[in-house]
């Protein structure tokens, strides 16, 4: 701003008349509603509307089944595994990257953590192994991308292939059943805490931590900066490479946690686990409002995206509709959600 320059007052006045460029978002209308709106981000309102519409459909078609607490618990439980993966994926996409290997990492972690040899170490061994394998794969991804200067799409595609291959090699195509009582009992009603399954609690914990990390920390702001303009971020003093490494580690960590949850859920490890998780997670993040090109991401939106997909599946199953119809509806929802969301953001940005 040329405030001190008085030699050209006309242009100076003209400049002052320009609206200040800083507040990109419209001023909040005020009241307690506005704080809620700020937390949810305006874009998420459309998602909430979609979810509300789905709940209405579910409640209308199968009122007794759909609106029961049991069913709510079921929807949340079935969202939990892919939900945790999606939180990690949201960070990676926000930074302008992509992780195609999440499903394969989940598969490899479940298999590695349920071999006869690992199971000798009990529940702790299974948990440690699942998380360690996830982080290890994330480390390889991160090193290849950040320091090997490979394109994320290619590096994680390579990881997808090799992790699936390794999972098949270890499991020999067989289903490895878990014997550990501690692990198995985590899936039963006896271990629910105040009526909430442990898996849902983990999902909630990861979501809250992810939200805090992305919205409230330097790490989160750096992630957005790297995704918005990596060169500018580098010039601003961010170690972009190291930051990228951390992001893929984070995604791997989420996969490891998700793998353990999947072991609890299915009581087994199998090399076919996590099938197409990468696409489900990307789809949930995208309809949640995360930009595939990077620079914008919301954990709340991603989690809403996951919940929408699970709710659709649930409603279709309750109404005894078959998978063909489910897949068509899923595709339609992706298109509709993205189209609806583009409206408000399009009008404010251009």
């Amino acid at each position: 701003m040329s405030t001190g320059n008085s030699r050209e007052p006309v242009t100076g006045v003209m400049l002052r008349k320009q609206p200040p460029p800083t507040p990109a978002q419209p001023p909040p209308p005020g009241g307690s509603v506005s704080t809620v709106l700020r937390v949810l981000d305006v874009r998420n309102l459309t998602l909430l509307a979609v979810l509300a519409a789905l709940v209405a459909v579910g409640g209308f078609t199968e009122p007794d089944q759909f609106l029961s607490t049991d069913n709510l618990t079921l929807v949340l439980t079935q969202s939990s595994v892919i939900g945790v993966v999606t939180v990690g994926m949201t960070f990676v996409i926000t930074s302008g990257g992509i992780d195609l290997s999440v499903g394969a990492i989940v598969a490899l972690s479940t298999v590695w953590a349920t071999t006869v040899a690992t199971q000798e170490y009990g529940a702790g061994g299974i948990l440690f192994c699942a998380v360690a394998v996830g982080v290890g794969c994330g480390l390889v991804n991160g090193l290849l991308i950040a320091y090997g200067r490979m394109v994320p799409f290619i590096a994680t595609l390579a990881m997808l292939a090799s992790a699936r291959g390794l999972a098949l090699l270890i499991s020999d195509g067989k289903t490895q059943v878990v014997d550990s009582k501690t692990v198995l009992e985590l899936g039963y009603e006896e271990s629910y805490i105040l009526g909430v399954p442990p898996l849902v609690l983990i999902f909630a914990g990861v979501t809250v931590l992810g939200w805090l990390l992305l919205k409230r920390t330097t790490f989160g702001r750096r992630t957005v900066a790297v995704g918005g303009n990596a060169e500018a971020a580098r010039l601003a003093g961010i170690d972009v490479r190291r930051h990228r490494l951390y992001l893929y580690l984070l995604s791997g960590l989420c996969c490891g946690i998700a793998a353990f949850m999947l072991i609890v859920m299915t009581g087994s490890g199998q090399n076919t686990n996590g099938n197409l998780y990468e696409l489900d997670a990307i789809a949930a993040a995208i309809i949640g409002g995360t930009l595939l090109s990077g620079g914008r991401g919301t954990i709340t939106g991603s989690v809403l995206g996951v919940l929408i997909f699970t709710t659709i599946t649930n409603i279709f199953a309750l109404n005894n509709l078959q998978s063909d119809a489910q897949q068509i509806a899923k595709g339609a929802i992706i298109v509709a959600a993205v189209l609806v969301q583009r409206r408000p953001s399009g009008t404010t940005e251009t």
């Binding site: 079935q78 982080v135 686990n273 099938n275 078959q322």
Partner: protein, 352 residues
């Protein structure tokens, strides 16, 4: 379980972020082994054919899909073990592949090697018809295993399971069990819906249930032959139907997940029938302490039978027990229902 050397604990420094991951990988590499000392052989050949004396040596080429599933694994093992029992048989087995182009390449290699007989279990029957024709034209008789080629000219003999019959037998078994139950409700957990075999199984199941007017199929969901999908779809079914009398699950592998969902929901008011015939399912049927009361076979022993047929073809002989001079052009296997009463007879065929 064999005692293993405990992996050395990582040093305190190694516990730092990157180091932890690396040392974990090292420690975990000791954990990839899947061996247990539980070594009773699950793939004992059932019966020797009539002509088990060594004859003219035969080289058999075997090409199957990638063994990423319990049943396909059993197919490979059945073939290998059966071939080992004949001193006159040499088995050339390819690395399994689900990629059509790759499988065609593997079969062409076997043709060039001039094997005497080819056994082909195609990843996709229609897509591999051409290479089957090529082998037949080159004078190599082809035994088409399970997934059928488009043209009968592409094989000498087809041997495989009966998907329609599997559904039919599952339906009849459930029908007989629920004969006296008024307004009985049945639920179906199908396999992958984009496979024709799933549709055939469902068709057979529905046709059988038509004989029992007191039974109604109230819900059906399709899983994907994986434990994970079995758990997810079964949990939905249990939520959708608060009470039912019987469940047919197409596949024992996805059944691991389905049974997990049933245990998690704490439900046991119904009887469950499985499909394919895994060793785990048979053990559960024998123990009789879960909802699983029966399983309908889709026997992997067909691979062992295919070796028998290939050997007979290579030696120019027929098969024993029939009046025919030639080997039949198609053999459809029977999908037996395994229950607690007859499970001991079938335990040896159960696959892991």
């Amino acid at each position: 379980m064999r005692a293993r050397p405990r992996p050395a604990l990582p040093s305190r420094r190694g516990l730092l972020l990157g180091g932890a991951a690396l040392s974990a990988t090292a420690a975990l590499s000791a954990c990839t082994s899947n061996e247990s000392n539980d070594s009773d052989d699950s793939t004992q050949p059932a019966a020797q054919p009539a002509s088990d004396k060594a004859g003219k040596p035969v080289t058999i080429g075997f090409a199957g899909p990638q063994a990423d599933h319990g049943w396909l694994n059993a197919i490979n093992e059945q073939a290998k073990n059966r071939a080992k029992t004949y001193s006159d048989v040499t088995l050339e087995i390819t690395e399994g592949s689900n990629d059509t182009a790759q499988q065609i390449g593997q079969i062409e290699t076997l043709i060039n090697k001039k094997v005497d007989v080819l056994i082909i279990l195609p990843a996709d029957g229609k897509a591999l018809t051409q290479v089957g024709l090529k082998a037949m034209r080159a004078g190599i008789p082809v035994i088409n295993l399970d997934r059928v080629f488009n043209s009968p000219q592409a094989y000498r003999t087809w041997i495989g399971g009966d998907n329609y019959g599997m559904g039919l037998n599952a339906g009849h078994y459930i029908g007989e069990q629920l004969k006296d139950v008024r307004n009985a409700k049945v639920v179906e957990l199908a396999g992958m819906d984009n496979l024709e075999l799933t549709r055939q199984r469902t068709q057979g199941f529905d046709d059988a249930l038509k004989n029992y007017p007191n039974i109604k199929k109230v819900a059906r969901q399709a899983a994907e032959f994986t434990v994970e999908s079995g758990q997810a779809k079964m949990a939905q079914l249990l939520q959708a139907e608060s009470k039912f009398d019987a469940l047919w699950n197409h596949d024992d592998d996805q059944g691991v997940g389905a049974e997990r969902a049933i245990a998690q929901a704490g439900r046991k008011e119904f009887l469950m029938v499985g499909g394919a015939g895994s060793r785990r399912a048979m053990d559960a049927i024998k123990a009789d302490n879960t909802v699983l009361k029966a399983t309908v076979l889709y026997p992997p022993t067909m691979a062992a039978s295919a070796i028998d047929l290939a050997r007979a073809l290579g030696q120019g002989k027929g098969v024993g027990g029939l009046a025919e001079l030639e080997i039949p052009s198609s053999i459809t296997l029977y999908s037996a229902v395994v229950t607690k009463d007859n499970v001991d007879d079938y335990l040896s065929t159960g696959f892991r």
